[in-house]
């Protein structure tokens, strides 16, 4: 028999989390890493993985003691495991949905994505191997991935390293980087999406 309080806890975790739970939890995760003597930043793993694959032969940027960054790969591995647990064991009663606003559903319909209010899935169907055979899928997954990997290293960090760690430490460069993230995002959504998704 599983104790009732554990079942209650599982039900409680399974509900969609409001922003005022998710945001402070991210800060707590950053504090735990600081307590462990490490700085929170996920995209640094791409550089570590390149270096571990021998990229140091091609550019000095990848000649560093990557084995000292093994901890960050473990954070990424844990994140994968967390995603597995959340999607397999902490599913809300109405399934994994993105509870986006009515206005967003209307915008999606204009893009040709025929979702109804309250039925938008958490993950879009174009995150699939079949989608890689479409131009849209190649743009989203292949080109999107390239831009994220290139841009994160050029800017010296991603959402975790700059938006969370950097701004929390009142780093002006991080604020500039996050302004850059938003400029790029707005250009993509408002000027390039109508070309890509129509």
């Amino acid at each position: 028999m599983v104790p009732q309080f554990l079942l209650d806890l599982k039900d409680w975790i399974s509900q969609p989390w409001p922003w005022y739970v998710g945001g402070p939890m991210i800060a707590i995760i950053m504090f735990i890493l600081l307590w462990f003597g490490r700085e929170f930043g996920i995209s640094a793993n791409f550089r570590v993985m390149c270096a571990a694959d021998g990229a140091g032969e091609f550019a000095d940027f990848f000649k560093f003691d990557w084995s000292s960054q093994g901890w960050n790969l473990l954070v990424a591995l844990g994140a994968m495991f967390g995603g597995y647990l959340a999607s397999h064991y902490f599913i809300p009663n109405d399934g994994d949905l993105a509870h986006v606003s009515v206005a967003t559903v209307a915008s999606l319909q204009k893009l040709g994505m025929d979702y109804q209010v309250g039925q938008v899935p958490l993950v879009p169907e174009f995150y699939s191997w079949e989608a890689l055979f479409t131009l849209q899928g190649i743009l989203v997954i292949v080109v999107g991935g390239f831009l994220v990997g290139f841009g994160a290293r050029y800017a010296g960090g991603c959402t975790s390293g700059h938006a969370i760690s950097g701004i929390s430490a009142l780093q002006l460069p991080s604020m500039v980087a996050v302004a850059g993230f938003f400029m790029g995002g707005l250009v993509m959504i408002h000027f390039l999406y109508p070309l890509i998704f129509k």
Partner: protein, 137 residues
């Protein structure tokens, strides 16, 4: 094992971003359309809690588990890289609907195609490493 603690931090991170829907392409799309406070609430409340905590750590010279004072490294104050790199990252973030954290989380949730995203991101990082000396920083 000492290193296993980092796996637990990652698990906490994965569950948090998954359950708060920050891993969702639709939430990122909504954010860049200014159609909900949700993502802004997550980012702003994380930063607000983060600023308070970092100030407490700095003012009290708190030590890490290894007994050393917790250090914060100042980022280089040269701006082209943050504007240009940030802009390129933003294009990719909005296009793919995932940044590096959610990519690992959704990969673990079973969206195996994101291994292609990971390979592309590594290629992007590799190309940056090759071009680094020619790019304005």
């Amino acid at each position: 094992m000492k290193m296993s603690r980092f796996i637990f931090v990652g698990i906490l991170f994965g569950i948090t971003l998954y359950k708060s829907e920050a891993v969702s392409w639709f939430r990122i799309y909504e954010m860049f359309n200014f159609q909900s406070f949700h993502m802004y609430g997550i980012i702003l409340s994380a930063i607000a809690a983060g600023i308070i905590g970092v100030q407490i750590i700095k003012r009290n010279h708190l030590k890490s588990i290894e007994g050393e004072e917790i250090q914060f490294h100042d980022k280089d104050k040269t701006y082209p890289r943050y504007i240009l790199g940030g802009f390129i990252f933003g294009l990719g973030w909005a296009l793919a609907g995932v940044c590096p954290g959610p990519m690992f989380i959704l990969l673990g949730s079973g969206y195996t195609v994101l291994i292609v995203f990971l390979a592309s991101a590594m290629l992007g990082t590799f190309v940056y490493g090759l071009l680094r000396k020619k790019l304005p920083h």
